[in-house]
């Protein structure tokens, strides 16, 4: 067994905030980050004097291509008045936010800073959809995967095909994941889709009536999701409602050395586990039904924290596609390989289930501004562990939570474990 690495000193989260997630034609990533920063500032129980912040780590995948702005970190630092502090952009595709968080943890644990602002931002909707697809595809292997025609929905669809073949999952099992995550997003005021899929279906029916068009005769939500006209195939077996949307948004966290947490709040979250791993392109993997990097990152985080999967009360996992949530819950050890696909249908992963997954709505419903997603996952954990999640608060004592953030097809994975002790 490799050595168990531990943080050289404790790290705590004492504030968290996010912008609204959605489509905002008039907001740059800078504007979104300012919005998230103001939300974070309001979340610090004893108030935050921003002058105490010593360093910034910003997760961002591709401001260069999405909004023709490189070198994002100092511009975001400047927008919130924090120059001349060091500001570093962190890029690991859709795991950029989670990896930025880990960099912030490392800076504090190493003693280079006591107070760190971790951010994530992505403005994606400025480009037409086809160009967004091409930009996201650069997170894959452009030499050996892109020529085969793979898109990101295509990669995850291929994983789904292998999973279905191996374990007998049907496309309908994935629809239950989408239904569950939209149920959660419907009670998250920051979510891109503040609607259940039933609301969505009803909206289509109402609209057809108002326009005197033929009223679709969907029997129920599953019938709606099986309708190719309402829920078209993007990359078989994945359809539109299996895919996270294109989103503009930002999120941020305030990390401090644990011994200074009391200056900010009496209810900090302690960051007790951090793990990260990498992997080859999808075609060069031992397994197509699990992500080795996620398994390795989880293993490292669990060992550092001294806890196991059974101790984790809630988790925000990287559901860029519905199949990704299924695979994530198996990679994290919540469910045995080949059994995760039935958990949404059975209610196990619902807010009131035994193992709530993606109470925020997940990437699927909350939205997926790629560089911000890993940070926004921790914002949800902050709210849930402090009992501040409002209508979507998980019942009972919630003191241990996990975030799981993936880049590319699992070329990067980063896992964090948070604990509330008071």
């Amino acid at each position: 067994m490799p050595k168990i690495h531990r943080l050289a000193r404790g790290v705590a989260v004492v504030g968290a905030g996010m912008s609204a997630f959605g489509v905002f034609a008039q907001k740059s990533s800078r504007d979104l980050f300012v919005e998230a920063f103001k939300d974070l500032r309001a979340s610090v129980d004893q108030g935050l004097d921003p002058a105490c912040i010593e360093s910034l780590f910003i997760g961002n995948f591709s401001s260069d291509l999405f909004e023709h702005q490189g070198h994002l970190a100092p511009h975001l630092a400047d927008a919130v008045g924090l120059t001349p502090r060091p500001a570093t952009r962190v890029e690991d595709a859709c795991a950029s936010g989670g990896v930025a968080l880990r960099q912030g943890v490392m800076a504090i644990a190493a003693g280079l800073a006591d107070v760190v602002l971790v951010g994530g931002a992505e403005r994606m909707t400025r480009l037409p959809t086809a160009e967004v697809t091409d930009t996201l595809a650069t997170a894959g292997d452009t030499l050996f995967e892109t020529p085969a025609g793979f898109t990101f929905p295509g990669f995850y669809a291929a994983m789904a095909s292998a999973y279905m073949h191996q374990y007998g999952m049907k496309a309908e099992h994935l629809m239950h994941v989408a239904v569950k995550n939209h149920n959660n997003g419907a009670v998250n005021p920051k979510a891109q889709f503040g609607q259940t899929i039933a609301d969505w279906m009803q909206g289509r029916i109402t609209s057809a009536r108002q326009k005197n068009k033929p009223v679709p005769a969907w029997a129920d939500v599953l019938d709606f999701l099986h309708d190719e006209a309402a829920n078209p195939t993007i990359a078989w077996p994945l359809r539109l409602f299996d895919c996270s949307p294109i989103t503009d948004g930002a999120a941020c966290l305030l990390l401090v050395a644990a011994e200074r947490a009391g200056e900010f709040t009496d209810h900090p979250l302690h960051l007790i586990g951090s793990g990260q791993a990498s992997d080859a392109p999808l075609h060069d993997r031992v397994s197509l039904t699990g992500l080795r990097a996620a398994q390795a990152a989880a293993h490292e985080a669990y060992r550092m924290a001294g806890v196991g999967p059974a101790d984790v009360r809630i988790a925000e996992v990287h559901d860029c596609f519905t199949i990704a949530e299924v695979i994530a819950t198996e990679d994290l050890g919540f469910f045995a390989p080949g059994t995760g696909y039935g958990m949404a249908e059975d209610g196990v992963t619902a807010r009131d289930g035994a193992r709530p997954i993606n109470t925020s709505g997940g990437l699927k419903s909350k939205g997926h501004p790629v560089g911000a997603s890993g940070v926004a996952q921790a914002v949800e954990v902050w709210k849930q562990l402090r009992g501040e999640a409002g209508a979507r608060q998980v019942p009972g004592d919630v003191s241990l939570a996990l975030t799981h953030n993936v880049g590319g097809t699992g070329n990067t994975a980063v896992v964090h474990i948070f604990e509330r002790r008071a």
Binding site: L143, S161, P237, L288
Partner: protein, 134 residues
């Protein structure tokens, strides 16, 4: 067999000549596809080009309706989806490729495990690796 450098450009040059080439570590004999310049098994730096059989089976696939710009330019789209897959060669290595000669409109008729043989397809001005049913 060939003294071309162990790069993607060399791999593409071979594809243009109708050859699917892998690399083999001369130290530990591990075969790599795509080709590599350093062996991940033993970190050896001594490699050689090896031509593969071009025969394999389908390990995973999808039928893509919304493709990247290059595939749209080649005439693929919602009304004309295409199949991308991962192919496991007889030699035990795997690679991403276009899967041609199957009906991407009816993915239920495409099967994991079905036998495939390599092809070389000119798409958008370059030779792309493709496989067809054997």
């Amino acid at each position: 067999m060939s003294d071309r450098p162990f790069t993607a450009a060399s791999f593409d040059l071979f594809l243009g000549e109708g050859r699917l080439m892998a690399t083999r570590c001369t130290g530990c004999a591990t075969l790599h596809l795509p080709p590599r310049a350093i062996c991940p098994t033993c970190f050896g730096e001594s490699l050689e080009w090896v031509e593969t059989s071009g025969r394999g089976t389908l390990a995973a696939f999808t039928a893509i309706a919304i493709g990247p710009a290059a595939m749209q330019a080649a005439g693929y789209g919602r009304d004309n989806p295409y199949c991308s897959g991962i192919v496991a060669l007889e030699e035990g290595v795997t690679i991403s490729a276009l899967i041609l000669g199957v009906d991407a409109r009816r993915p239920e008729n495409i099967h994991i495990g079905q036998r495939l043989v390599v092809g070389f397809e000119p798409i958008t001005g370059r030779t792309v690796l493709a496989f067809r049913p054997a």
